[in-house]
């Protein structure tokens, strides 16, 4: 009997650093199991051989920053049964979305010797601003266990376990000592989506907010407290806390705007 055809997996890159795709290659031990479970049909970071679409599952990394990419993503949607965005760029516009609040031409003039060759959009936008997305996986980069969970869930046709509660829950479940309370270090954990396993607090650093806003984030209360006496963080620093990889995620964007000195 012929075995049922394996689902076809494609990985697509838009404006990004490749870190999220690397998380998949990083799976090492599990990579063979992935290759057993799905046919890796399009993954140019890993192999030049490409199997033609359509694809059952498309993982999309990166944000849309050029007119050409804005068209290419439509094609990805057309040939994909399920589209899952991976990482902060694809789900929130990424660090490059800092341009959204400034004049992008000014940036290109500072960065490139020949800015006249740069053809880019005014804004960096998440994939969901262009096409219907079936699932968004957060993180900068995504966590490899969560990535495997999403693929496993897709294969089993179930909902992935990637809870939108705060990093603090992972932190407390690990029995870590809260750096905010015990060291006075500002930590974005209480407003940030879980997924990393409280990586930074485990190394006694405050959370940087790589996974973007949690469900119902109270960013205003968080900033008010950080700006108050016990921590004494100045408004400029607060604004910067919210303007990193998820700067264009709405709750973070609103907060950094509100704090800008």
């Amino acid at each position: 009997m012929k075995p049922a055809a394996k689902p076809k997996l494609a990985v697509w890159k838009f404006a990004s650093c490749d870190g999220c795709q690397l998380s998949l290659l990083d799976c090492e031990d599990e990579l063979l199991a992935v290759a057993d479970a799905v046919q890796i049909a399009h993954f140019t970071e890993a192999t030049r051989s490409v199997v033609a679409g359509p694809y059952d599952l498309s993982l999309v990394e990166g944000s849309i920053t050029t007119a050409a990419d804005a068209e290419r993503i439509q094609e990805v949607r057309r040939i994909s049964r399920r589209v899952v965005t991976i990482g902060a760029c694809a789900t929130a516009g990424g660090i490059q979305a800092l341009r959204n609040f400034r004049d992008v031409r000014e940036f290109t003039e500072h960065v490139y010797a020949h800015p006249e060759f740069i053809d880019t959009l005014e804004k960096s936008t998440p994939i969901s601003a262009h096409i219907r997305v079936d699932f968004e996986l957060h993180g900068c980069p995504v966590n490899k266990h969560q990535l495997l969970e999403v693929i496993s869930a897709f294969l089993a046709r179930r909902k992935p376990n990637t809870p939108p509660h705060p990093v603090c829950m992972e932190c407390k479940r690990r029995g870590l000592v809260c750096v905010m309370v015990a060291h006075g270090t500002p930590c974005m954990g209480p407003v940030t989506h879980a997924g990393c396993g409280a990586l930074c607090p485990a190394y006694q650093r405050g959370c940087y907010g790589c996974f973007g806003p949690k469900e119902t984030p109270n960013t205003r209360a968080f900033s008010d407290y950080c700006g108050g006496a016990p921590l004494g963080i100045d408004p400029g620093t607060l604004a910067r806390l919210f303007s990193t990889f998820n700067a264009a995620a709405e709750p973070f964007q609103k907060e950094s705007n509100a704090r800008k000195p």
Partner: protein
């Protein structure tokens, strides 16, 4: 758990002492203290107790008495915790820290089941590893009360929770009569401390005098008496017992906080729409730290996961919190979407409906939710605000 009086000790009992517990007081010198840990280890216990890690006093496995936070103390306020050096060499000169014993009896993550596809069916496997046999050292009165509350939840409410029961049943408890009240402690106003009277195998009061450092030891069970018998000890003199008493009396007088005296269940139930809930919701991050740090909060969620092959599945239980949206998610939607409704649910369950469900308050006054709230929301202050501004409630029955 009370043991019959130990004869040799009884003959040495100081005249005029009160309860059976008091008749069983002995002295363990500081230099003999390390033996307590060794003897427990020899009896096959994994000894857990306080130790310094990452700028706080946490509960972890102890190898020797050297792992204890000798000479350390803590300063605690709402949303703040700092380790400080003491002027002396006290082993237990601090209040409770970020951890509670619940993480050992009710682990934050536990695998309940594994399933393996096998032909047309599947096999179910429950975890086979034997549960650890713990001995806890330094359990405070409030924490004993918290363990008693969780006993009721996990063992005494119909269904027995196996994970909890397996750890709880062999547990050996060395209590500590608190010598220091933390800045956020309020056990006195919850009638939960600072003196432990029951629920332990042994209880220690650490006494530091100019030239002496010793422990007054009370036995609370036969097992406790047996362990004590294996340690160098002698009966306590009345002045030593009095010294120990003075220590907990002093702790009781120096509580950092107080829960307002009021019929709190009636107050909360009569004030679901009080404006204070909106005010606290403005500040609350719904981060769940209070619930996960609380030694009595017992909520969990269950996660089912499958692997890439689809041939293996696991069911995990994880600590959950009434501060998440998924907690109140049912068919048709989320019933506690606002931060206000989530904070109110927490406080009202803890202090009011807990009485209806389990016959006591759900709060033991340990202060963890106050200290470890990253924005310093204070349960006693919230209740005080309600008592001061709420319309009067009918007097408590009795």
């Amino acid at each position: 758990m009370a043991s019959p009086p130990h004869t040799t000790l009884e003959t040495n009992a100081p005249p005029g002492s009160g309860s059976a517990m008091e008749r069983l007081q002995c002295i363990l010198e500081r230099e003999d203290f390390p033996r307590l840990i060794t003897v427990l280890q020899e009896q096959g216990f994994e000894v857990i107790g306080p130790t310094v890690r990452d700028g706080a006093i946490v509960y972890e496995r102890l190898e020797t008495a050297k792992d204890l936070p000798e000479g350390w103390t803590d300063a605690q306020e709402a949303g703040q915790y700092r380790l400080n050096k003491r002027q002396d060499h006290a082993l237990f000169g601090y209040a409770v820290g970020p951890h509670s014993w619940k993480q050992f009896l009710f682990p934050a993550n536990s695998r309940l089941l594994s399933l393996h596809r096998d032909g047309n069916g599947f096999t179910v496997e429950t975890p086979a590893e034997p549960a650890p046999r713990y001995a806890f050292i330094g359990v405070r009165s409030c924490e004993l009360r918290a363990i008693a509350i969780q006993d009721k939840v996990f063992l005494g409410s119909g269904a027995v929770d196996r994970t909890y029961a397996e750890r709880r049943e062999p547990l050996f408890i060395v209590a500590l009569q608190c010598g220091v009240a933390g800045g956020t402690c309020f056990c006195v106003s919850m009638q939960a401390g600072p003196r432990a009277e029951t629920g332990f195998d042994l209880a220690l009061t650490e006494v530091l005098e100019e030239t002496r450092h010793y422990f007054v030891v009370q036995t609370g069970s036969d097992r406790g008496a047996q362990i004590l018998a294996a340690l160098p000890h002698r009966a306590a003199f009345p002045e030593e017992i009095q010294a120990a008493r003075r220590i907990t009396d002093h702790t009781a007088r120096t509580m950092g906080r107080e829960m307002p005296k009021a019929d709190i269940p009636a107050l909360l139930k009569a004030n679901y729409d009080h404006a204070r809930w909106d005010a606290v919701a403005e500040r609350c991050l719904t981060c769940a730290n209070c619930t996960l740090a609380c030694p009595t909060c017992f909520c969990s969620t269950v996660e089912d996961v499958t692997d890439l092959t689809g041939n293996h599945a696991e069911r995990w239980r994880k600590w959950d919190s009434c501060f998440t949206l998924s907690f109140s998610s049912v068919a048709g939607g989320i019933t506690r979407a606002s931060a206000k409704s989530r904070y109110r649910q927490w406080l009202t369950h803890k202090l009011a409906t807990w009485h209806d469900q389990f016959g006591s308050s759900g709060c033991v006054g340990c202060g963890r939710c106050i200290t470890w709230c990253p924005v310093g929301i204070d349960i006693t202050e919230e209740v005080r605000a309600l008592t001061q501004t709420a319309p009067p409630t009918p007097p408590a029955p009795g």
